[in-house]
């Protein structure tokens, strides 16, 4: 069970990370991040030694990962608010200065 969820989580993590750094639109980056967060939750939900610990640790992980996704959403929206365009994460910001 744990091995299967770890394998699934690993796959989700890789795909999500790839999408986050290769995508040029806000929506697909947020979907990639959601996949990454789901990967973390998948492993924590199945790996805890007992049911009570699983509930506790999954709650903690879900809360922190939701917080992180909200921060990501805020950063993405800050870009749209400033000039109406999505961020281009593939460009090196050092070249602009």
């Amino acid at each position: 069970m744990v091995a299967a969820s770890a394998a699934m989580a690993g796959l989700l993590l890789l795909v999500g990370a790839g999408v986050v750094f290769r995508s040029s639109t806000r929506r697909s980056r947020l979907l990639g991040l959601a996949a990454v967060a789901l990967a973390g939750l998948l492993v924590t939900a199945t790996a805890a030694p007992d049911r009570a610990a699983a509930v506790a640790v999954t709650t903690i992980s879900a809360a922190t990962l939701t917080g992180l996704l909200l921060v990501a959403l805020h950063l993405e929206r800050a870009s749209t608010r400033s000039d109406g365009q999505d961020l281009d994460l593939q460009q090196d910001p050092l070249r602009w200065g």
Partner: protein
């Protein structure tokens, strides 16, 4: 128990109070951080007097474990000291554009809570939560500096941290499933050396390497560190990068059977060596001063990673060298960043060419940069020299001489790229440039004080080493380390 919680509670209270009272933010933050420095000093005194202790908070299975030893006390004191200096710099230079991001005072204190938590963390779940706190506050401090470039740099930094955190979380969950505990000190007896254990520890290590970050996972660092506002840069370049390394060192120094394999440790050392060379060469090619310093950080982090194979081989000197380097690098690096911010503002630009005549036009800041450079290169009698001496001795005693060669090469490269800055700074002043007098020297004095503390560490290393010896891993021959 009291002091380890105090160094977490004081900046947390300061952050909350500063958030609720916007008009008094600088005063609240400075008071809270000064109190944190005092508490950190008392923690160091306590560790020297009583030895290492472990503090458990909460229920049995989900208890947070804090390890109060020489490593954690030393790093906590370093973090609060550098944070106080950065905040004093922020308070005195806040009229200078590019110094302060929005929400600096509460965010910087929250960052300090996360850093202290990471340095003290004795279990993987606490480490994960603190890594998240450091990731959020660090990235937002960069992104909130203003402008699209900073927003992109901060977002890239945040996404890299988030992916690293989830990787670390997956590793933590697997370790828990296999060993029934996430307390690092309990893992050697409960986590085997099989493939599942290797997979779990690999996930933990990759997550931490992305956070440190080490080449080739460093893609987010140069932009984030270069574009960070000047009161934020010292926190990122000297403390945040060390926090993940502290967890890595605790994990690899714990003597977990799956982590005593020489091949993987050598691979980590090789990554460190690549970082030393790549970071050094990139710094040599850079035209902006803060980019030089950012790549210098990549190279210096590589030096930390070089210690891992020697630590795994049972070298106490390697462990000491790595921790002394983590501290000795932080002080001059913070000094250099403050000095460069002052020089860039005063000389009207941030390229290496703009430094021309800096020694005449802003002598105190230029002198601080010079003193910091001596420490970063690792020349005697500085803390950087002490750290490199330990690492070279470790490489010889463990028979891994190739790391000594890398350390020497790294020092030569550091000397070369910092000499570029100093050569410009001490060159003749162009006659056409008007000689403006600096307004206020408090920033210069802060930079010089930090740079000088790197010298003091080198002149009196005994006290630091005595502190770091408390609770340090003891050599067990070839099989790894155990906490004593």
């Amino acid at each position: 128990m009291g002091l380890s919680l105090t160094v977490l509670a004081l900046p947390a209270i300061g952050a909350l109070t500063a958030f609720l009272a916007p008009r008094w933010r600088p005063a609240i933050a400075l008071m809270a951080t000064t109190a944190t420095v005092v508490a950190s000093l008392l923690l160091v005194r306590d560790v020297l007097a009583r030895g290492a202790t472990t503090v458990r908070i909460g229920r049995e299975q989900l208890a947070a474990v804090l390890v109060v030893d020489g490593l954690s006390a030393g790093l906590v004191l370093l973090a609060s000291g550098v944070a106080l200096t950065a905040m004093l710099f922020a308070a005195t230079q806040r009229s200078v554009p590019g110094t302060l991001p929005r929400g600096y005072w509460p965010l910087a204190q929250l960052l300090l809570v996360g850093l202290h938590g990471l340095f003290l963390a004795g279990d993987l779940l606490t480490a994960y939560l603190m890594l998240e706190l450091v990731a959020v506050t660090g990235a937002v401090l960069v992104a909130a500096g203003g402008g699209r470039a900073r927003l992109v740099a901060g977002t890239r930094y945040f996404y890299a941290e988030l992916i690293a955190s989830v990787t670390f979380l997956a590793g933590t969950a697997l370790v828990w499933s296999l060993a029934g505990t996430v307390v690092i000190a309990e893992l050697p007896g409960r986590l085997g050396a099989g493939v599942p254990a290797m997979l779990a520890l690999t996930l933990l290590t990759i997550g931490l390497l992305l956070k440190v970050p080490v080449v080739p996972l460093h893609f987010w660092l140069p932009a984030a560190h270069t574009l960070a506002p000047s009161a934020v840069s010292p926190l990122l370049s000297t403390l945040v990068v060390k926090s993940a390394f502290a967890v890595l060192l605790r994990l690899w120094g714990a003597g977990i059977p799956a982590l005593t394999g020489d091949a993987v440790a050598q691979l980590l050392g090789a990554l460190g060596a690549v970082a030393v060379v790549w970071g050094g060469l990139s710094a040599l090619r850079a035209t902006k001063v803060k980019v030089v310093i950012a790549y210098s950080t990549v190279a210096q982090l590589g030096l930390l990673l070089l210690a891992v194979p020697m630590v795994v081989a049972g070298s106490h000197e390697a462990w000491l060298g790595a921790v002394v380097h983590a501290i000795a690098h932080a002080l001059p690096k913070a000094a250099a960043l403050l000095a460069v911010a002052l020089l860039a503002h005063h000389l009207g630009g941030d390229t290496v060419d703009h430094l021309e005549g800096a020694a005449v036009r802003r002598p105190l800041a230029a002198f601080a940069l010079g003193v910091a450079a001596v420490s970063l290169i690792g020349l005697p009698p500085t803390g950087g020299f002490v750290a490199k001496w330990y690492l070279v001795v470790a490489s010889i005693t463990t028979g891994q001489w190739w790391w000594a060669a890398t350390i020497v090469l790294g020092s030569l490269l550091t000397g070369a790229y910092l000499a570029r800055l100093l050569q410009r700074g001490f060159a003749a002043v162009p006659t056409a440039v008007p000689q403006a007098r600096p307004r206020g020297r408090s920033g210069d004095v802060l930079a010089l004080a930090l740079a000088s503390s790197g010298l003091v560490l080198g002149l009196y290393p005994d006290r630091l080493v005595a502190l770091l010896e408390v609770g340090a891993p003891l050599a067990l021959g070839t099989g790894g380390m155990a906490h004593g």
